[in-house]
Symmetry: C2
Subunit: 451 residues, 2 copies
């Protein structure tokens, strides 16, 4: 049996041995690393999501780009396996230290569940889920929302942290990629055509005919280019062109060096410290090193200074360099009428309004549209809803100009609120802001000040 | 932030980089390696299954010991995560180059599906599923059978090969381990007791009292030992004692060097070559190097010699050293009455016998017991059933004395036969034989003679 080149065999065995050796290292907060499942789908389709994840995993953790194929199994498996090598190669080619992993499943959530639980090898296994913010939640089919929120709950159940990334333009550029592919195809056709024409010219002796060929050549050469503009025009006529331009720029925003500025961390719950660790790792990167950390925490209005000092000493124990600490004393005050109104209008279409109906109709509606937000529920979590609205006010006030916002992800017990209300929370919380990471660790400590 | 010792950090990064580097190696039959998901449950509970898998994965492939926790998720995850480190440590301690992986799932099959699809990292991902033979299939609840057969189908769907291992005594020694634990506890108690007594003696000056302590000591020392025998007796009185003895011996059989003898390979379908590759790898191991390969293949009775020559040249192209090739010309003849009778008696309890009933009752029965074997089905696959029975006859005739049997796993299209009939096939095929590996590759070639 031919075992392939000895170098290959060697690199395999050493990779395996290294991985095995790792398993002997005792688990300890000291050697926690962000090991991320990033739901990029096809890796090339969400560059910004991949770039930001790579920024805090590269060399200090693990990054697995994951894709879930939903549909008839045999077909999915075929498609999945045929693309494997190509997609992994793309990552390598683009110098992204990440693995590509894919599963075929009956539904998206099942697939992600498999990846969360089973992917990785020994110590190199995920402890953090990174997903893009679902910006189309208002229009998306309900099952999609259920899957999306369900995945977040699954992650917590498996003791895996969650990072939701939002950039205003969204991540998915597959549309653009399609157009680019088409253009490339055309370009290649054109070149092929030119080539053949040249050949013919060389072979061809007689002037007259050569002239003829030249004409033909020009014709053939110009036709595709016209087509080229054409295909772009059609896009623009679809009012996608300018949008695509913005999208492409946005999708590259984490590739370039981040200028002087701040990463604002709003650490509102003790989640073990992931919310603090990720921005800290970012500041160690070349691209982000000109960004200063500003830490925002809640506190009692009447003891701002004490809390500030306490926090400062904690951070210095963690050896986290920070530019500034702000203790926010007025998180729990009511949001102002306008912003509350915005929230109410946002959820209006999903409300059941059962209280202003007689019991039987109310019950009937509940049965028919169980996904709707009931008045009872809304009342029960009113305080939390207010908090999200209020927080956005504060974020607008303090962090509007930050390069990046890192913010504790609000969570609600499973089943305690409807998926749509939860999405509304995330929406209002992160509305009109710079790029946001909503972070929630798995409550295991990831920071330590023992040495 | 404290990143743990620099050596740890280094080993992590190098493990990761190695794993990443591997992904750049292009996939090729030349660098196929058996990368196995082994369903050991808790690694220590099925030593023989783990040992044999380790024998053909160690240094030449990947071995992942897998456990599925079925039940309420939160509980499962808790139990799972708490045991993780301990079980991996056990593998390392016992010099087994294997990873421990576990998932929590609603049912066993779901869990295995996750592991088959998602486990591993880059190139180090499973391509072969190794499971023990389900010897209790006759008594086991139907859902267990469904899961078991279902898992085999899932593996093929995911283009993953399957190896089913059968040893007459079975693999699971958890019972025995429990008893051992108890005994150890008792032993420790005893030692603790002795120790305290000794201390007392030292402190204690006066003869008389020391004497008294001595007595007490004896008493206390003897009591546990009596208990010790006691707990063994109880086991024996449960008629498990001798059985356990056999079990323990059987479970260690692949740990010791295999004497002079043969590994008989019955290669009955071209499955890509896994059926040939695994025994070949075994012969490269110290433990197995005194075992010669004997290859058995089907052929036309009237051209035995030609087929023999053809096979020989193929094997030599693969550079597989073999002691002997047998072309079996009479696989497809009818089995003799006795052995067929054995098979019929085996399936009798699961048969529906609808044909000897009127249509309505037949339909009714079908609805009530859909898992039963219908006459129609039995007739449809009669030939295949005969084949299994006949093969066992041949195996008895040629390979009864082999140290190990490697045999193509019979497969039937999903839904084409009932799970119970399939189990009956496996049962009759591997009945009263030395340890058997039923192997079926994923039909991708794993052997090559290009250089």
């Amino acid at each position: 049996v031919n075992w392939g080149s000895s170098t290959q065999a060697l690199s395999y065995v050493s990779a395996l041995d290294n991985a095995l050796e790792l398993t002997t290292v005792e688990d300890h907060v000291k050697n926690f690393r962000p090991q991320c499942i990033v739901l990029t789908g096809e890796p090339m389709t969400r560059p910004a999501l991949l770039d930001i994840s790579h920024a805090f995993t590269k060399n200090s953790g693990l990054c697995i780009c994951c894709e879930v194929f939903v549909g008839p199994r045999k077909l999915c498996v075929k498609e999945m396996n045929s693309g494997m090598a190509k997609k992994q190669a793309w990552l390598i080619k683009n110098k992204i230290k990440a693995f590509y992993a894919a599963v075929a499943a009956d539904c998206f959530r099942d697939g992600v569940r498999s990846l969360l639980q089973a992917s990785g090898l020994g110590r190199m296994k995920p402890n953090t889920l990174v997903i893009g913010y679902k910006r189309n939640w208002k229009k998306a089919p309900l099952t999609e929302i259920e899957n999306y929120v369900g995945i977040i709950h699954d992650a917590f159940d498996f003791e895996i942290g969650v990072v939701i990334v939002r950039i205003s333009q969204g991540f998915d550029i597959s549309q653009v990629l399609q157009v680019q592919d088409e253009l490339e195809k055309l370009e290649q056709e054109r070149l092929a055509l030119e080539a053949t024409l040249k050949d013919n010219e060389c072979e061809e002796g007689s002037r007259g005919i050569r002239g003829l060929f030249k004409k033909a050549g020009k014709l053939n050469i110009t036709k595709p280019t016209r087509k080229k503009d054409g295909s772009i025009n059609t896009i623009q006529s679809m009012h996608v062109g300018e949008f695509n331009q913005k999208l492409v720029e946005a999708s590259a925003q984490f590739k370039k060096k981040q200028g002087k500025g701040t990463i604002d961390v709003w650490w509102l719950f003790d989640d073990g410290g992931l919310t603090l660790l990720i921005p800290y790792i970012l500041t160690l990167r070349k691209k982000w090193k000109d960004c200063k950390l500003r830490i925002y925490v809640g506190g009692k209005i009447n003891r701002i200074e004490e809390e500030k000092i306490a926090m400062a000493s904690l951070l210095s124990k963690f050896r986290i360099k920070f530019a500034d600490i702000h203790i926010i004393g007025d998180i729990n005050v009511k949001p102002n009428k306008e912003s509350w109104k915005v929230f109410e209008e946002m959820i209006e279409p999903y409300r059941l309004h059962e209280s202003c109906k007689d019991l039987t109709t109310a019950e009937k509606l509940k049965r028919e549209t169980p996904w709707k937000i009931t008045d009872a529920e809304l009342e029960a979590v009113k305080e939390k809803s207010c908090r999200q609205v209020r927080l956005n006010e504060l974020l607008q006030e303090h962090s509007r100009a930050a390069n990046l916002l890192v913010l504790s992800l609000p969570v609600a017990r499973k089943g305690s609120i409807s998926d749509l209300l939860y999405m509304a929370w995330l929406e209002i919380l992160t509305k009109n802001l710079p790029p946001v990471l909503l972070v929630r660790g798995n409550h295991k400590n990831v920071l330590t000040f023992y040495s």
